[in-house]
């Protein structure tokens, strides 16, 4: 098992071989032929593979992801309403399939996105500092997070605003109040597809 494989962002060819359960030579061949994207360490000839390239490579070669991840999906819940955050934490923890972190503002959401590298973002629309659609757009602009799923869960009822959120790059919009089972199922479903 690769240490800190769940959160590591740069892998060596040896680590990649371990995760993918192939020989290191195969990894090097794939790297050199360009099928596995990466870079060489400046001043040496050591090959390094970023996490996103590795995920792309594993997906395209249908390699099981088990050795890259713990098996639990990382969920970041962003809402300024403490009661809502608390409820989601409890709900997702209780389910057991998810590892949950929470943020109460757009700024916190940004920091945690970088550190925690969530698989899925449950995002409220009205945040105290920046609105959900801005957070959504910022994440979508960064190719490092292209595998991240974003679900906006909001009380907004204005159809124009809903349309705007979808346009900002959200994968899903769920209106408050909601059916908890429906939300959990939808999150799990989206994880599988991803």
């Amino acid at each position: 098992m690769v240490e800190n494989g769940e959160t590591k962002s740069i892998f060596t060819t040896g680590e990649v071989a371990q995760i993918c359960k192939v020989s290191q030579q195969t990894v090097i061949r794939c790297f050199d032929s360009g099928r596995l994207q990466g870079f060489r360490v400046p001043g040496s000839r050591f090959r390094r593979i970023p996490r996103e390239s590795l995920i792309d490579f594993m997906k395209s070669n249908q390699i099981p992801m088990d050795h890259l991840e713990t098996g639990k999906k990382r969920v970041l819940v962003v809402d300024d309403d403490e009661a809502v955050v608390e409820m989601f934490s409890e709900l997702l923890d209780r389910d057991g399939r998810f590892e949950v972190r929470t943020a109460a503002s757009g700024y916190d959401a940004g920091i945690l996105t970088e550190q925690f590298r969530p698989d899925i973002l449950l995002l409220d629309f009205k945040l105290p500092d920046i609105n959900g659609n801005v957070v959504c757009r910022t994440i979508r602009a960064n190719p490092n997070y292209r595998h991240m799923q974003i679900i906006i869960i909001s009380g907004v009822a204005d159809p124009d605003e809903v349309a705007e959120l979808k346009a900002a790059g959200a994968d899903e919009f769920i209106r408050k109040p909601f059916d908890i089972n429906a939300v959990i199922n939808r999150v799990a479903e989206m994880m599988k597809v991803a």
């Binding site: 409820m87 009822a157 408050k176 908890i180």
Partner: protein, 772 residues
């Protein structure tokens, strides 16, 4: 002359003073030589008188010359006159050989020679500056008149009807000198006297009036003064002084009344005959004067015929003649005739003018009377056409007017053969150039019409003008146009020549058009104002509605966020509880919580949906199908009696173009309203559509037999949150939302209701997609 002439009669005293001054000037005139008195004394015609005459005349060479001239002119044959009209009567031509005064006396008689000699003397005395100034011509005429009166007086005296007069020989002098005052005044004041004559010519009054008016004294006064000073004897003095008095007005004590009467008659006769120029133009009653002397018309006619014969040699000798004897008389007659003719034609002319004016005035009155307060421009045009028709011998006329900034012509016609008075507005381009042309022609009166006018005539009457087409242009600030009529030139001539009348007709029509246009403009303005007011009212209502809707939207948006968070937590927690809870009673409570949260959230959503409905996605659908499925749905969900709903669609092909969901929502709202308003046992809801497939819009009418609405309720029935039901029951968004959905789908919805009788809701929606 040093003496000025007063311009006005206002200063009577000044005029009198002037008269005194003039008398003083008369006194300074040269006196005739003493032989004049001697010659006057020769009264008889016997041998001694002849001898005396010859002797007296021969002592003065100039006088004898003159007498011999007379002799010579009589001795030559007619047509061989040796005397040419001369600038001065006393520049004599060479005399014929072998003439003597004695021979002249024996040939012409004592009287004639004596008279000629006297005449020559007086003539000489009063002929200073004879040709000078403007009065020169007048004075010749005066002398000829005087001479003719002298001759006529003499002839009257000789007439067998008059009877013997003692002083018969003197009558020539009486007549000759009767107007000596005029001649004297003319000599003294030639310019002023010319004015007197001009003034007298204008007014048919006695010249004496004009003389007194202008000079301050008349010629009878002046003549009397002169005659007295020259010692011409009482008969002459009286004749000079009184010849203007009517014969029966003479004082009975007057010794020489007979002479005066004869001179008066002679003067009148000569004036009527037009020989010479007396200056007086007024008529004298010849008949009574003549009969007082025993003369009848025939005698007068004979007498007047003999005058030229007697006066010709004398006037020739004096150089006063202008033509031969009879010819001169004929000329006088024709001169008078010509003057009469001219006068007559002037009278006819002014008569015609007056008649035309009166016609114009009558037609104008009729035109004005025809106009009324509710005339359109075309009515005024028709009246104008009628106006011109009544003035001229024509059957048809057409009036047209173009208002500024308009391409339309207002046309009115008059056709005596038809009862149709006017035509509607004709869309005929009277372009700006043509308008300018009209403008330039205004005031020109009647002019030949242009080609465009010809075309207009054809359009209006359907045939070409019968004759030449004329135009009377009308131009005012409000409009340009004209009256067209067809007529030959002779018929239109008199009116055409009457510029003033044409101008007043044109301006009368122009004013009528202007005032009609102003009235119509005011009416249109009022209409426009009312229309604007109505639209403003509607816009205000719509604005108020939109404001309230936008407030609802704001409120709903805020509420959605603020309410939905706690609702989400309540609902979520309850659901989480449900998953852990086994106790059925607790589970039931939790379920109720979840359900009620859903309801509360639904309200917020509904509010939002009302304020900001989703954009419709219209599709074309068969109306019948939509209504049928809606009815089936209601039957199934509302547990209705089978006959409670009655559906009828007029045209199975009719389609409706709108958002399907929203249409269902509209129908649902209207149907719910009908359901709540009706008693379940007597419920009758009729749904029908009268529309045809070809209509642009379709109508769905939902009628119930429920409680209906009072006017107050009806007024607010479409306001959001209004509900006639007790507070707290229903949110009152149903009909209001239906109205809004109909609106965003390009349709309308309205209500009619009778309290206690039922309500009728009409939904109108587009039948098909807009053309663009």
């Amino acid at each position: 002359m040093a003496v000025g002439v007063p311009r006005s009669a206002s200063s009577r005293a000044g005029v009198r003073e002037r008269g005194e001054l003039i008398l003083g000037q008369l006194d300074q005139l040269p006196t005739p030589p003493t032989i004049a008195a001697r010659l006057s004394a020769i009264a008889g015609s016997d041998e001694s008188s002849a001898h005396e005459l010859v002797r007296t005349v021969e002592t003065t060479p100039s006088l004898s010359d003159c007498v011999l001239r007379m002799m010579s002119s009589r001795s030559v044959h007619r047509g061989e006159a040796v005397c040419e009209p001369r600038s001065s009567p006393f520049i004599l031509h060479p005399l014929p050989q072998g003439m003597t005064v004695a021979r002249a006396v024996s040939l012409l008689g004592v009287q004639a020679v004596r008279n000629a000699a006297l005449l020559a003397l007086f003539f000489d005395t009063l002929s200073d500056d004879a040709e000078a100034g403007s009065a020169g011509g007048n004075r010749r005429g005066l002398w000829r008149h005087s001479l003719a009166v002298g001759c006529a007086a003499e002839l009257i005296a000789e007439s067998p009807h008059v009877g013997k007069i003692d002083v018969g020989g003197e009558l020539f002098l009486c007549g000759l000198l009767h107007d000596i005052g005029k001649i004297a005044l003319d000599v003294c004041l030639p310019k002023s006297y010319a004015r007197v004559l001009r003034c007298s010519e204008r007014q048919p009054s006695c010249v004496c009036d004009a003389e007194r008016e202008i000079l301050g004294l008349d010629h009878t006064t002046a003549g009397r003064r002169l005659a007295s000073r020259w010692r011409l004897g009482q008969p002459i003095v009286d004749s000079v002084w009184l010849h203007h008095q009517a014969p029966d007005a003479l004082p009975s004590t007057l010794g020489n009344a007979r002479q005066v009467r004869i001179v008066h008659l002679a003067d009148a006769l000569i004036r009527r005959a037009g020989i010479g120029a007396s200056g007086s133009m007024h008529e004298i009653d010849i008949k009574s004067s003549a009969s007082a002397l025993g003369l009848d018309q025939d005698a007068l006619a004979e007498l007047i015929e003999r005058v030229p014969e007697r006066m010709n040699p004398i006037q020739k000798a004096l150089g006063l003649d202008v033509s031969e004897g009879d010819a001169s008389y004929l000329q006088s007659v024709s001169q008078v005739n010509r003057r009469l003719g001219r006068l007559n034609s002037r009278l006819l002319e002014s008569n015609r003018t007056l008649q035309l004016r009166s016609d114009c005035f009558n037609a104008l009155s009729a035109f004005t009377a025809r106009l009324s307060d509710h005339d359109r421009i075309a009515d005024v045009c028709a009246a104008a056409a009628d106006f011109v028709c009544s003035l001229l011998p024509i059957d048809r006329a057409l009036a047209f007017v173009r208002m500024p900034k308009s391409s339309c012509l207002h046309v009115g016609t008059r056709d005596r053969a038809s009862t149709d008075y006017r035509l509607p507005i004709v869309d005929c381009r009277l372009n700006d150039e043509l308008t300018e042309w009209f403008e330039s022609k205004t005031g020109c009166g009647i002019i030949p019409a242009s080609e465009e006018c010809d075309a207009l005539w054809q359009r209006c009457f359907g045939s070409s003008p019968e004759s030449f087409l004329w135009l009377l242009p009308i131009h005012t600030e409000a409009a340009s146009g004209g009256v067209l009529f067809s007529s030959d030139e002779s018929a239109v001539g008199p009116l055409r020549a009457a510029h003033a009348e044409c101008a007043s007709i044109s301006s009368a029509i122009g004013q009528a058009v202007t005032s009609a246009a102003a009235r119509i403009a005011a009416e249109e303005l009022t209409d426009e104002f009312l229309n604007l007011n109505r639209r403003l009212h509607a816009a205000q209502k719509q604005l108020a509605r939109e404001r309230s809707i936008s407030m609802i939207a704001q409120m709903a948006a805020g509420a959605a966020h603020e309410l939905n968070n706690p609702l989400a937590v309540i609902s979520g927690r309850a659901q989480m509880g449900l998953t852990k809870c086994e106790d059925p009673r607790l589970r039931r409570d939790l379920e109720i919580i979840v359900e009620q949260v859903r309801r509360a959230a639904g309200m917020v959503t509904e509010l939002m949906a009302f304020a900001k409905p989703e954009q419709p996605r219209p599709i074309a659908q068969k109306l019948e199908k939509v209504l049928e499925s809606a009815c089936q749905h209601w039957q199934s969900v509302s547990d209705l009696r089978p006959d409670a709903i009655f559906l009828s669609v007029n045209d199975a092909d009719a389609s409706v173009y709108c958002d399907g969901d929203q249409l269902r929502e509209i129908l649902q709202a209207v149907f719910s309203n009908a359901l709540t308003a009706t008693d379940p046992d007597a419920r009758q809801i009729q749904i029908n559509s009268p529309s045809r497939a070809t209509d642009e819009t379709v109508r769905i009418v939902v009628e119930d037999n429920g409680v209906g609405m009072t006017p107050e309720v009806l007024e607010h029935a479409l306001d959001p949150f209004f509900s006639s039901r007790p507070a707290g029951r229903g949110r009152g968004l149903g009909l209001s939302r239906a109205y809004r959905l109909a609106e965003i789908n390009g349709g309308r919805l309205w209500l009619e209701s009778n309290h206690q009788r039922g309500t009728k809701v009409t939904i109108e929606l587009p039948a098909r997609a807009p053309a663009h």
